[in-house]
């Protein structure tokens, strides 16, 4: 692989990258957080959630799939893009049924954490309250379709990391649903330790009997926003 060093800018800041890096990978290494949801380090990027949208030389692009190129001018933390990302997060909330108050993933959920980071107190779109199904057939794993954002992380992880291909999708557009390679979850060879379960950013795929184990106050996003693991700490005031 060609590892020639290139430079470009994000919001005016000079970023060093290697040829072959995506914008998001180069930004991470430089301590610049670009919000993301369907991207996961161990997986090939899918570019489906568009939360990582940046402007590249003025054009909107998904930072998780767009390769970095020498001299490109990237906009990331602008009011326009923050608004666009807020809108996408709002839509994910109203298109599903997110009852955070009893969700096992609350406090550790990437969707919720993004809403916190963007300071969303209520979505601006009307709630749709769709009818979605819950599959509790498996002894150790629960799939609650009410919370699925169709990011495909489980689909990619099951195939690439577990070698199982348990998850997929059926339907299109608003009808798109999580599906299993069997009549129900119990009929598949999914297991609680699978990477696919851990890959779910929301409370859709849940290991049974471990919910609420981490007390409030000690969960991943209780004290610092998602992305602060990438950004250098803010200077002391």
């Amino acid at each position: 692989m060609n590892t020639e060093a290139i430079t470009f800018t994000i919001d005016g800041k000079k970023i060093e990258a290697r040829r072959g890096d995506t914008i998001l990978e180069a930004a991470d290494r430089a301590g610049v957080y670009i919000p993301r949801l369907c991207w996961m380090k161990e997986l090939l990027p899918a570019g489906v959630c568009r939360v990582c949208t940046v402007r590249v030389n003025g054009r909107p692009q998904a930072a998780c799939t767009q390769p970095a190129a020498a001299g490109m001018v990237v906009e990331n933390d602008t009011e326009e893009l923050r608004q666009l990302r807020r809108d996408l997060i709002d839509m994910l909330f109203v298109e599903g049924n997110h009852f955070c108050m009893f969700c096992e993933r609350s406090g550790n959920c990437e969707l919720q954490a993004l809403a916190y980071r963007f300071g969303i107190t209520a979505p601006k779109y009307p709630f749709l309250f769709p009818r979605r199904s819950v599959d509790a057939s498996h002894p150790d794993v629960l799939a609650d379709g009410n919370r699925c954002i169709r990011c495909g992380r489980c689909v990619r992880a099951s195939r690439a990391l577990d070698g199982k291909s348990v998850f997929g999708f059926t339907g299109r557009g608003p009808q798109k649903r999580l599906a299993f390679n069997g009549p129900n979850l119990a009929a598949t060879d999914v297991a609680a330790p699978d990477h696919a379960i851990a890959a779910c950013p929301t409370g859709t795929l849940i290991v049974k009997r471990v919910g609420y184990k981490v007390p409030i106050g000690r969960r991943l996003y209780d004290h610092s926003p998602i992305g602060s693991e990438i950004e250098p700490p803010a200077p002391e005031k």
Partner: protein
């Protein structure tokens, strides 16, 4: 100068948000120094008496009475705030929204495993407010100025927002006070 007026109510909620307000502990003494209460379950006043500066709504709208009270609050409150997940997104009561209303009634009064109802009638006394087709968050019925999510929002969240408003600031919450659970 007259003290600012605060009114509160619980629509389709569990009173948990009001409990959280009482959870501000001794700051409640400061609160009664700072404001006067109009209609509120805290003083049992049943009707808003005048113009109110800040109205706090707990709970979403599940029936026609909730809607009427919400409209009364909107009419009389300069600033109206949705307090808690039920007011901001329907909350636990909105779990019925995925089931048609008829099926909800049948399950509750006819077919549920613990139902004893020899008349086979669904209660229809005119005293009982009619249910809406769905449980609605307050901002889908009237204009809401600010939202304080949480189930319930913590006492610190409520206090921070109230103090900010009373001091004429925007109630912007620090990261740790904005929670959905």
């Amino acid at each position: 100068m007259a003290k600012p007026k605060v009114a509160t109510t619980s629509l389709c909620g569990c009173f948990g948000c009001h409990m959280s307000l009482l959870d501000i502990d001794d700051r409640i003494l400061k609160l009664v120094e700072l404001v006067d209460f109009d209609r509120s379950p805290i003083n049992d006043i049943k009707k808003i008496e005048g113009q109110v500066d800040i109205g706090l709504i707990e709970g979403g709208c599940c029936n026609e009475e909730n809607l009427a009270v919400l409209h009364e609050f909107r009419k009389h409150c300069k600033i109206l705030i949705s307090v808690g997940d039920c007011a901001t997104n329907g909350g636990i009561p909105a779990m019925r929204n995925m089931v048609p209303l008829g099926e909800c009634y049948e399950e509750a009064f006819l077919n549920g495993p613990t139902v004893v109802n020899p008349t086979g009638r669904i209660p229809d006394d005119p005293e009982i407010p009619l249910l809406l087709d769905k449980v609605y968050p307050c901002h889908e019925a009237v204009k809401i100025d600010y939202h304080l999510p949480g189930c319930p929002p913590s006492a610190d969240t409520l206090w921070a927002a109230l103090v900010a408003l009373l001091e004429g600031r925007e109630p912007e919450l620090p990261y740790e006070l904005l929670k959905y659970d």
